[in-house]
């Protein structure tokens, strides 16, 4: 899988192995609100303060801020889902190009996906920072691989945006 810049206002990934293409295609479904575990929900909408005396702030946050965040995450998900329609097969591999102005939505959804997977499976710093390749014969190893794939895509986009 290779990152490339097909023009001033577009970026893309090409030579995507079919397995990786499936993992990319599954991004929006992975972060659908109905698919999120309680752990992922808590990570997506964390407390605004650790101060026990700020109960009012917490209830206000739930009532007024969280709906805005939900909308923001939904909007990013919709952008990515629409862009994924252009994920096409070229011989044995796949490729996708996206408008550079959608890069923020992609960064957000890739982050949502990484956080959801990490929250569900309890990944810590050592699991994610391991230098040896993950064991792809089990679900945990496959999901670590998936988190790292999405990190690679984020890093490519960040470098292009800077």
């Amino acid at each position: 899988m290779e990152f490339y810049v097909p023009g001033k206002s577009r970026v893309g990934f090409r030579h995507i192995h079919p397995l990786l293409a499936e993992l990319v295609r599954s991004l929006p479904a992975l972060v659908e609100p109905g698919a999120l575990s309680d752990e992922a929900q808590q990570r997506f909408y964390p407390e605004p303060s650790h101060d026990e005396n700020l109960r009012d702030l917490r209830s206000d946050w739930k009532a007024f801020v969280e709906p805005g965040l939900q909308e923001q995450f939904r909007s990013a998900r919709d952008v990515v889902a629409a862009d994924l329609k252009s994920l096409v097969q070229r011989k044995d591999t796949f490729e996708i190009t996206i408008p550079l102005k959608h890069a923020d939505a992609w960064l957000n959804v890739l982050n949502q996906a990484r956080l959801a997977l990490a929250a569900d499976l309890g990944f810590n710093e050592s699991a994610l920072g391991a230098t040896e390749p993950p064991d792809l014969s089990n679900e945990r190893g496959m999901n670590i691989f998936r988190v790292n794939l999405y990190a690679f895509m984020q890093q490519c986009l960040i470098e292009q945006m800077e």
Binding site: R43, F44, Y45, P46, E47, P48, S49, H50, D51, L54, L57, V65, G68, L69, Q72, L107, N108, N111, Q112, R114, L115, A118, F123, N124, E125, L128, G129, V147, A151, Q154, Q155, I158, E159, M161, E162
Partner: protein, 95 residues
């Protein structure tokens, strides 16, 4: 006619709003360091060097105070940081 001014005690809310509040970002093992630094530059308008310094502080010490000031603005910053899926909180400065 003599006039007299009596100073009324500040209400609890006024006192809370007047005191400075910190915006704190906490470490998490998932967010990329480059992503965190990019968010700091965008939200706070930091230079690359300053954003990098705070990002490393979060990574190495578990938290960093990004901004200190009035509570309302601190809450707005935390809201923005949550939009980027960073772990951020407000706290009273000096705690």
């Amino acid at each position: 006619m003599a006039t007299e001014t009596t100073e009324l005690p500040a209400s609890e809310t006024e006192t809370e709003l007047a005191q400075p509040w910190n915006v704190v970002v906490h470490n998490d093992p998932v967010n990329l360091m480059s992503y965190v630094a990019m968010v700091f530059r965008r939200v706070f308008g930091f230079s690359s060097e300053r954003a990098q310094k705070h990002m490393l502080e979060v990574h190495e010490r578990g938290r960093s105070v990004l901004w200190t000031g009035e509570r309302e603005k601190a809450e707005l910053y935390v809201q923005q940081l949550h939009g980027y899926l960073l772990l951020a909180t407000v706290e009273r400065a000096g705690e």
